[in-house]
């Protein structure tokens, strides 16, 4: 028995993990499909898959290469993310897309950098993703921007004292919260900051704190799991002030939580499905059709055909990757990495061009309102720091 | 306080020991002496509190009242405290009031030179006979965990091992040195437990029913064995035993305990004639 185990072990260890057919270029998809951010991750994957269904091949050196998507679940956990990233790298992907959530992206970043595989961040908004990793690019806006935007918006709603609630140990929320706080204070507002610990279900006390501190707006960037609870319990306690959050809240989980309740929920996001720009409109209609054609995809989207901004970003990310491959005219990661900085692309989420850190130069966020009656997101306005 | 003066050569000395669990008085005002070189037996019907007495001596229990002296040095002194003051069912409580309570943990007491065996054998089950005895020698180590880990204590380690195998020799278990302790036959396990106790270099050896579950012949051998090691390691032996012939054969003096009270004390012949003792034992037989 033991000998057998030992033997198997030895053999498996010696199997080199190499295997590559020709005329196939592998694009790694580094996304959570389980865990706190699973919902958003799945929507992002959908966007990527849709893009892939439209552009399944790419020409390199005159030859057509079929694009194979290699999807790994990073489970929304920084430690699991590392092995997920390693598994992608070991499958010889040429470029990586993802992830939803900044923590996992930063964790995976090292692995990609180590292997010299370029990664394109889809909706990870923490500055350090690109700042501390030379192989990470990103097509969405950053938290300092988003935080400022929401602070401005809060002021416009007439708020003077904000209650900022973030999850202890979640760098995305804590980071975004900090930027919001700075911006809001600069605008002359007061702030009460508090954390909840992972696995918290009981938010009653936090809502009470917000009320008893006389806050007139809540900013709670966190995973949708907790968002749903916060909204539900805020409504249960009949709060009158609005709840604000970042991109994560643009999710059907939020709509379900807010539906039929007397509560005002706003979030900032990367894209609006009612955008009348031609590209966007085309994408939206196409994507809806594609979703409705397949129940499985629809469930992954949260059971409806509402187009999430992260899906749009996923769509753009894939096309940016293809553009980079074309520019490099090679499936070699190094070449693609070299080509990426020069890539520019007219995406459905706006024009994408990278600055020297590797971030897309984006200066506009879409603010949406979770409409309790219709159970859909209403577009409120676009906002940029300028205002 | 007259009791506390020690009469010269006694090794162990209990004065007014009372052990009470909640309302139950397990030992009631027991006083006894064990002198150097003696073999003293503590007998009595089941539940008379013999093992409890051992536990008070070895620091497993803290007596409710009374004192234990070892070579004249107090190793346990106590008087009813807290809610025990109300509950206390024994006597002579006030005699120890103004003495400060003395408590030692079992390991300290073993360190002072009292070693014991257990009524229900307690060998280290995953260890071999040899290792069991070897563990007994750990107590007299001079090395700390660093010197031991990095093997800077080779000399001592060697000495320990020699001593252990020597002891196994003494008790006639060398042939089974590498057997699992728990795989040994009953009699050998008892001997092993004694060897393990001897490994701690005791001056007083407490044996809790060493002959339990042995046939007459084994018992006789054990008797000789006890006397034998007593002389070889010049020990004092204090034992609890039910096998009367063994007790009568080897012990110099006998204490009889019944329902926690001492009902008799004396030489084997005296005890055999003692009506109270006989009554106590007959009483038991009736049940």
């Amino acid at each position: 028995m033991k000998k057998l185990i030992a033997l198997v072990l030895a053999v498996m260890m010696l199997v080199p993990a190499f295997a590559m057919a020709d005329n196939v270029i592998k694009i790694g998809v580094f996304e959570p499909s389980t865990g706190d951010n699973g919902a958003g991750g799945k929507q992002e994957i959908l966007g990527i898959e849709y893009a892939n269904s439209l552009a399944p091949t790419v020409t390199i050196g005159g030859e057509d290469y079929t694009v194979e998507l290699v999807i790994e679940d990073n489970q929304s956990l920084t430690d699991k993310a590392i092995s997920a990233a390693q598994s992608l790298v070991s499958k010889n992907v040429s470029v990586v897309l993802g992830s939803y959530g900044s923590g996992v992206s930063m964790a995976g970043g090292d692995v990609f950098a180590e292997a010299g595989v370029p990664a394109i961040g889809v909706s990870c908004t923490n500055p350090n993703v690109t700042l501390l990793c030379d192989y990470y690019w990103r097509i969405c806006f950053l938290d300092p921007f988003q935080g400022t935007v929401m602070a401005n918006f809060a002021k416009e709603l007439g708020a003077s004292k904000a209650y900022v609630l973030t999850m202890l140990g979640e760098d995305y929320g804590v980071g975004l919260g900090k930027y919001f706080v700075d911006a809001f204070k600069n605008l002359g507002g007061e702030v009460v900051e508090e954390n909840f610990t992972e696995g918290t279900s009981d938010f009653a006390a936090y809502i009470n704190n917000a009320v008893s501190n006389g806050c007139d707006v809540v900013f709670a960037p966190c995973a949708t799991t907790y968002a749903a609870l916060i909204i539900d319990q805020a409504a249960a306690q009949g709060v009158t002030f609005p709840l604000l959050a970042g991109d994560t809240w643009e999710n059907s989980a939020i709509l379900n939580a807010a539906k039929g309740k007397d509560i005002k929920v706003y979030c900032s996001t990367f894209f609006d499905e009612n955008d009348d720009a031609a590209a966007a409109a085309e994408f939206v209609s196409g994507f809806k059709a594609w979703l409705n054609a397949d129940e499985g995809k629809k469930t992954n989207n949260g059971g409806n055909d509402i187009v999430a901004a992260v899906s749009a970003l996923g769509f753009d990310a894939y096309n940016v990757a293809l553009a980079a491959v074309k520019a490099a005219d090679s499936a070699d990661p190094a070449a693609i990495a070299a080509a990426l900085p020069g890539v520019t692309y007219e995406g459905v989420t706006g024009a994408i061009a990278f600055d020297d850190v590797g971030d897309a130069k984006k200066d506009m966020a879409y603010i949406k309102y979770a409409n309790p009656e219709t159970g859909a997101f209403d577009f409120v306005k676009t906002q940029s720091v300028g205002q | 306080m007259s009791e506390v003066k020690t009469s010269g050569n006694n090794v162990l000395r209990l004065t007014d020991i009372t052990m009470q669990f909640g309302g139950v008085v397990a030992i009631n005002n027991l006083s006894l002496e064990v002198n150097t070189g003696e073999i003293v037996a503590l007998i009595g019907p089941n539940g008379a509190g013999k093992t409890t007495a051992f536990n008070c001596i070895t620091g497993v229990y803290e007596p409710t009242n009374g004192a234990v002296y070892f070579h004249g040095k107090p190793i346990a002194v106590n008087h009813p405290q807290g809610k025990m003051i109300k509950q206390y069912g024994g006597i002579n409580a006030d005699k120890y009031k103004d003495q400060k309570a003395v408590v030692y943990t079992p390991d300290k007491i073993t360190h002072m030179g009292i070693a014991r065996t257990f009524q229900n054998i307690r060998l280290f089950k995953s260890q071999t006979a040899f290792e069991n005895v070897l563990i007994g020698t750990h107590l007299r180590r001079t090395s700390n965990f660093l010197t031991a880990t990095f093997r800077l204590n080779m000399k001592e380690e060697k000495a320990m091992r020699e001593k252990a195998s020597q002891l196994l020799e003494e008790v006639g278990l060398s042939d089974v040195a590498n057997e699992l302790a728990t795989s040994l036959p009953y009699g050998k396990q008892r001997r092993l437990e004694i060897a393990r106790a001897l490994a701690t270099d005791p001056t007083l050896l407490l044996l809790d029913e060493p002959a339990a579950g042995m046939n007459p012949q084994e018992t006789d051998e054990l008797g000789e064995f006890i006397v034998d090691i007593k002389n070889k390691f010049n020990l004092t032996v204090f034992m609890i035993e039910h096998h009367m012939n063994l007790v009568m054969d080897i012990s110099d003096r006998i204490y009889v305990l019944d329902f926690g009270k001492q009902i008799a004390e004396g030489t084997p012949d005296e005890i055999q004639k003692n009506p109270v003792v006989i009554a106590a034992y007959l009483g038991v037989d009736e049940e």
């Binding site: 389980t34 598994s87 | 943990t105 965990f145």
Partner: protein
């Protein structure tokens, strides 16, 4: 005794071959291949599992604080080794943080262990007086408390609060191309020390305490003193293990050191066999290889032609895993090695029952 020596030599040769193999594989398949990942992480987990085994398997103390001590070790290492140039960026919200110096990797590893050991010494004072499962739950609690403190915003300038620590020297940039060798060397030295301790007179008395506390105390073994010793030493190596894990991961977040991690390690120890160092080592490599590599396919929805393989979906891997573990716990309670070591196989101490059996 001679036979023992021969076995020792043989097993040393085996170890040497294993080391050589490790390096060879790395040079053949490149640092980023899955097999190398498994070798690195497996080795790290081996150390952690052995350190836990020292406590649960050899001393019979059911402690569930391992993740907490790994956390302490990992953070101590990372905080001390992040290069000055990068601190401003890493501690972006705490303008550079408090610590304004950097030390070498090896001293940092050592300090990681020492700090973890100090924590253990403090926690041990109260907790080790508790028995059995109370000890388990109390240590579990302390691990959680430590995590809460590390993430606490107020000491953010030290721990970077909830945010990742990055840019500290990782396996890759210490011995480029020889990451496996480095890991194996450090882990090897640590496990070697643990082995020496276990086979010393102190190790024997640990086992005595495990087998029978009352008898051990009657043998003059000071229970608390020895338990404390085992606890502190175990935590020392858990700390180093945590630091190595940080080096392996390349980025560090308190969030990942949950009780789930402790459970994983505990299960590794059980699979390997309570009270068997070699068992823990084997089990670690098996566990990591399966969870990170061989069983990954279970998580991927795969089509064979038009036929969709049933059950395969994200999360299935962990289910299979948990089932296997339950089977081991219920039907092979001795685990792979029982409480024997590789070099004892075929020796005449057969009937020997492990701490977790009979």
């Amino acid at each position: 005794m001679k036979k023992g020596n021969k076995r020792l030599i043989i097993s040393l040769i085996v170890v040497a071959l294993f080391y050589a193999g490790g390096c060879l594989i790395e040079h053949l398949s490149g640092t980023t291949s899955m097999v190398v990942t498994v070798l690195q992480k497996g080795a790290v987990y081996a150390l952690i599992a052995v350190s836990m085994n020292l406590l649960n398997g050899f001393t019979g103390l059911f402690s569930l604080g391992q993740a907490g001590f790994m956390l302490v070790g990992a953070y101590s290492y990372a905080i001390l080794t992040i290069p000055m140039a990068k601190r401003a960026a890493v501690y972006q919200y705490y303008n550079g943080g408090w610590v304004q110096f950097t030390i070498g990797v090896l001293p940092a590893l050592l300090i990681a262990g020492v700090v973890a050991a100090l924590f253990a010494a403090l926690i041990g004072l109260p907790v080790l007086r508790l028995k059995g499962d109370y000890l388990a739950i109390a240590t579990l609690g302390f691990a959680e408390i430590i995590r809460a403190i590390v993430q606490w915003d107020t000491i953010g300038p030290l721990t970077n609060g909830s945010n990742l620590l990055k840019t500290y020297p990782t396996l890759k940039n210490i011995m480029p191309g020889n990451t496996v060798l480095f890991t194996f060397i450090v882990v090897g030295i640590c496990i070697g020390m643990i082995l020496l301790l276990i086979n010393s007179t102190y190790g024997r008395s640990f086992k005595a305490i495990r087998d029978d506390e009352v008898a051990a105390e009657a043998m003059g073994i000071n229970l608390f003193h020895h338990k404390q010793m085992a606890f502190v030493i175990s935590s020392f190596f858990a700390g180093i293990g945590g630091a190595l894990l940080a080096m392996y991961q390349g980025s560090l977040q308190a969030n990942s050191f949950k009780s789930a991690m402790t459970y994983e390690i505990l299960l590794i120890v059980v699979i390997g066999g309570m009270g068997s160092v070699s068992g823990s080592i084997i089990a670690s490599f098996l566990f990591i290889a399966c969870s990170e590599w061989w069983l990954r396919f279970l998580d991927a929805e795969t089509m064979i032609g038009d036929f969709k393989v049933p059950l395969l979906a994200p999360g299935f891997r962990m289910v299979v895993f948990a089932v296997v573990i339950m089977v081991v716990v219920l039907f092979f309670r001795k685990g792979i090695m029982g409480d024997r070591e590789l070099w004892e196989l075929g020796s005449r101490r057969k009937a020997k029952g492990g701490a977790s059996v009979k």
